[in-house]
Amino acid sequence: MKTMFRGAGFLGLGGAIWGNAAYKLKASELTLRPPGAVAEKDFVKACVRCGTCVEACPYNTLMLATIDDHTAIGTPYFKPRNIPCYMCTDVPCVPVCPSGALDLKTIAREVGGKKTDEPDINKAKMGVAVIDKDACLAFWGIQCDACYRACPLMGTAITIEFRRNERTGKHAFLEPVVQRDVCTGCGLCEHACITEKAAIFVLPRNIATGKVGEHYIKGWEREDEQRLHNLKEKKEKETSPEDVLNDWEDLLDDD
């Protein structure tokens, strides 16, 4: 009996320490994953940490997290400022994954609305580039389009907007703008950025993006407006507020 209690105590203690360590080591909201990764929550569950994707990467972009990387240990990630994802058209890192943590279906090429077995790296959603305007030279009025030119989807993922420079009166700002629905998060822009600490950098999508919510509809867009017409009318509740207000029988004591 005594040993049983002691055993249970050690088990509880061990479980608490181990559980805490595992929990800490799995938190990885700020990690950039390889292309084709499933949602982060499922990714940490699924990844067997075998490193096959890292071995498949021809540019040594992918690394395996060690204890000091503040992410689930042994899982693949990349730091675009060091080595970005060069967007191989055959995406060698994804098909080798045995676990389903990297899933070809998430980046399948679509032909005529149908998904094929071919990968389309441009559909990868590794993250989204964010610009710190205060650190970006283009927003100072100095001409720099390093990120724009480095972008593999030049002109669609990063566009340039022209704005008159009121300060000089005769120049233009050539401001880079990230189109978040097109951006793959490859980080070539972050790698190319000429400032001391990159003014454009990739963040995981769920960190860098907001969400409006289903209940806002762009009435000026035919497709979005259609959502309004597709909505099924909710059944009116049979009880009106007055019924609730008048229903006071429960409040009375029987006595």
Binding site: L11, G15, K26, K45, A46, R49, C50, V54, E55, I67
Partner: protein, 276 residues
């Protein structure tokens, strides 16, 4: 003179034949994994959790798959088939051989044990004594934690894959865990990790209980010299030695050390006889 030296050399080699073979096996696997990453070999990609063999099929750690299953994620068919192959191989044929023939941590803990004996840090001076059954509790706890936390709990701290990754991709601070393991086996508890705590060893012990390859003891030949007891990492499995003939079961990892040291031909590799 030279003949005599050669003869003693051969005798020593013969006395360590399984040990040498095991080290070649363990180091060779590590080399194949490393070669895949460093020189682009394609024989064996991945690691001890999941390996892509000859670019044909996968071999997956069934214990890891079990944990992932507990988190509620269904893995791809490739991984599940790979796990089934491995599980069936150990369950039907090889028993707990993974621990002494494949696992790289075995080399670390064996080194610790060897040093422990050389430095005469003997069993009596164990700082911590605890049951060898603890590993089965660790195994269960790992599965429960996987389910609760939604992450494969043992894979997060698994020193086996950590060692492999460390050698091939760089340790980071992970080397501290390996050193801690080494010191634990050296100073705290004899056979502490492999013989008491490792849930993977527990998993394969349970899975390989009725495997074909087992070590057979014949009590008629035994002279009770106790040499096998002095080298065995799982002494409790040798309880039949000198008492009755039969097969060594339970946590035996088929390392063959006892066969090597036995001078009386009382222990040998054999095929399990299911009838008795």
């Amino acid at each position: 003179m030279i003949g005599k030296i050669c003869w003693t050399m051969i005798k020593r080699l013969k006395r360590n034949r399984f040990l040498i073979l095991r080290r070649i096996f363990q180091a060779g696997l590590l080399l194949l994994f490393a070669g895949a990453n460093w020189w682009g070999w394609t024989l064996l990609l991945g690691n001890y959790s999941s390996a892509y063999v000859l670019q044909l099929f996968y071999l997956t750690d069934p214990h890891a798959v079990l944990q992932v299953f507990a988190t509620g994620f269904i893995m791809s068919a490739d991984a599940l088939i790979g796990a089934a192959i491995v599980l069936l191989f150990y369950a039907l044929i090889a028993g707990r051989s993974f621990c002494s023939w494949v696992c790289p941590v075995n080399m670390i803990t064996d080194l610790a044990t060897c040093l422990r004996k050389r430095l005469k840090i003997t069993k009596k001076e164990n700082y911590l004594n605890f049951s060898r059954k603890t590993r089965y509790w660790v195994l269960g706890l790992g599965i429960i934690l996987s389910a609760v936390l939604g992450v494969a709990a043992f894979e997060v701290i698994n020193p086996i894959t950590m060692l492999h990754r460390g050698i091939i991709f760089g340790f980071g601070a992970g080397w501290t865990i390996i050193v801690a393991l080494f010191l634990f086996d050296l100073l705290v508890t004899e056979y502490g990790w492999c013989g008491h705590l490792c849930p993977l060893g527990a998993f394969y012990s349970a899975a390989g209980r009725f495997s074909l390859i087992k070590i057979k003891h014949s009590a008629e030949n035994c002279t009770l010299c106790m040499k096998c007891f002095s080298v065995c990492h799982e002494k409790q499995v040798l309880q039949i030695v000198g008492k009755e003939s039969g097969f060594i079961k339970r946590e035996c990892s088929n390392c063959g050390r006892c066969i090597e040291v036995c001078d009386d031909n009382a222990l040998k590799y054999s095929i399990y006889n299911y009838k008795n």
